[in-house]
Amino acid sequence: MFSTVISGAIHGITSYLMHVEVDAADGLPAFNMVGLPSAEVREAGERVKVALKNSGIRIPPMHITVNLSPADIRKEGVAVDLPVALGILLSMGEIAENALLDTMVIGELGLDGEVKGVKGVLPIVQEAQRKGCKTCILPLVNAREGAVVQNIRIIGVKSLQEAITFLQANSVEQDQMIAPTKVSISDIFSEAVQEYTLDFAEVNGQAAAKRAVEIAAAGFHHVLMMGPPGSGKSMIAKRIPTILPPLTLSESLEVSAIYSVAGLLKSDEALITRRPFMNPHHSITDTALVGGGRIPQPGIISLAHRGVLFLDEMAEFHRPTLDLMRQPLEDRSVHIARNGGTFSYPAEFMLVGALNPCPCGYYPDRNRCRCTPREIAKYLGHISGPILDRIDLCVEVPGIAVEELGITQARNESSSLISTRVRQAREKQRIRFQGTGLRFNSDMGPQDIQKYCRLGIREKRMLEQIFHSMNLSARAYHRIIKVARTIADLDGAAQISEMHLTEASCYRLADTQYGKENQRNAGEIV
């Protein structure tokens, strides 16, 4: 007899519904699986047979054929164990024909019949709900994750036996047996009232770096911090999520879907409610950074989506690896083409880089630094120009004197205070860019700058003077205006003023700072 069970699978971070068709017929006893299954999917047959046996069900010797439809997409992962098992029972008549009507099933089976958790539940359930399914049978550990999707009944099961008993019961009995899992989204968000253990109040000194980070958070600019070892670069970076506005529901769903696909969503958290903060070690491989692999997986830059990607010791990263971020930084998503298809993962992150100004870390303090100009140029050369070009703000984090470390925290601003200003500045941007597709000041291209960053006559003259006295490039020009716009937003000003421009011009990497030390000074007869 023939039966069909609805299941689902992920493709990148999108998902599709899959029909598991089972036919049990007379003939030589066999178990065949078709529909382009990968090795781990093909093994489902063995797991299912043993799991059924250990759940007390004997499969009569029959010719069983399982087809995974649509048959032209390669099936990866182990989420089809449970639907295959239920499909066999359905075709054998163990379960009533209409018991699995409008029901989506996913889950991995253990040999003892235990239902184990799978990856990508959130996007699959979302897809099921869109396609009109009424019920989802999921592994219990994934139930809360699936229950985030509203208007669909989520049944979490622990074992195959439990699933079978559930399906054999009538609807009244069913409700008594396993209560549908429910999750209140507003509760999740209020539970996680952004109680961060870190706070900016703990950072003493470093006013310039803190200010730069605030501007970066407000305008979603990428930021680079330079300073000697132990000056607090990492300390500041780790606190950036505390001043970013909390995730909205739609942002949270996006981020959670990525984590779900990567299998990083813990069973007790239904949604990711905090801004991600990723700080990979500099030994990271290409695939781990941008995603990929034979079965494509989201990389660190996608896991940092809507959050912070912190690259500590940025100059120590493998240069070609860093260069892979060029396209994602531009497009705010990463496209990975493999022979199994092209996958697209979102990657809209705030890049925070930290590096020492030279190999020893103490330049320009010549009392300690003895690096040659060549060494310094080579060190910064590890980061390619196109990457540096995307970084709007660059700030110096000088070494801090021991006596300043002991100062009480009273003088330092707290994260919540800074966060309020950041939120106000973001609100201004939201109103300004409504309906344009832009979200932040950092998204502006040269034309948008013309449109949204009108400068007065005095400001224009000032910028020209800065331009000439500092010998700036056209890129630096646009960067200064964009940053000045964000500073003005933080200030609550509608117009960019001279003050905003001068401050913005102080957050940039000197074109002459590295490599040309000698020429610059030998020629500088003043």
Partner: protein, 374 residues
Amino acid sequence: MTQNDQMMEEEQMYAYWLMNVRGIGKNTAKMLTAGGRSAKDVWNMSPENLKKILKPQQYAYVADSRKFWNLEKEYAMLEKRNVRFISQVHPDFPEKLHTIPDAPFALYVKGSLPNPEQPSVAIIGARMCSEYGRYLAREFGMELANAGIQIISGMADGVDGISQKAAMLAGGKSYAVMGCGVNYCYPPENRDVYELLNEHGGILSEYPPDTQPRANLFPPRNRIISALADLVLVIEARKHSGTLITVDMALEQGREVFAIPGRITDRLSDGCNTLIRQGAGIALSPADLLQEFYGIEAENAQSRAKIPGIRKLDPMESVIMDVLDMNLQSISQLQDKMEKKHISVSMAELAHYLVQLGIRKLIIQEGNYFRRIY
């Protein structure tokens, strides 16, 4: 060309051969030419006599080289590349080099040799110098050149190259003694200095023109730098630095040593301050040095740098100028310093003042670093 000149040219040809025989350095060459023997005589020396002086391996090299070396062709090739070869018997060989212990056997010269009639000063100092050292290298190079003094140095990064470039841009002459062949520009960053030297001075080396830079070749050239000068001026030096090796050699050669004092907290001034304590002359300004050592009343040499536009500062600006230093400092460092003076100023305001001062060319901004010009 007199007959004497011709003989001298011929002798140079043979000396050039001798300096290019494998296994023969300047000491062996001096041994071979001792007692009034010329390089030509060495070429014609009998194997028996040669064997008396040389080790067997060295003799083998000489004998081999005599078979294959084409005297005229090799020498003409050198001339074609605009490199002069001057052995110690040549009349142009600097007199000052004759008198030192361990004098070079010959010099390769690109450009010209220092004029023995004119005074010359060696300006030396740290390669990784501070802004203070840079400024002084520039000032002294320029002002001494203005007073007609030739600047001798090593064309290295930092003080050396800066002072030489400044001297030549001021219209003076400068000479570099290299630790590699004269056809090599080392360090490559100083290509512009190298080109200028070729035109407004000379590039000197005791090593064959194509010798690559090697660490062990550099210290010996320092003795030539100090020997060519009347006076060695140390701009900035760490303790135990290469600069101090040059100073030791200068003292051994009987050259005068002057040093520029620095703050005792600056590690880059340790060398100079120690020298002063040991009795070196103190150079307070180019004019001071000129008067002290040469007795020149240099009217055009400035006794103190004039600072343009300094009068037009408002109170806040002058406080900022006070906390600024010749070394690079970031905004937050400056803000901290202001706070210690009980002047609180916001980042934005401070940035505003600093950029304004930068536009007026009173200070220099390099990325997020700022420094004074003077």
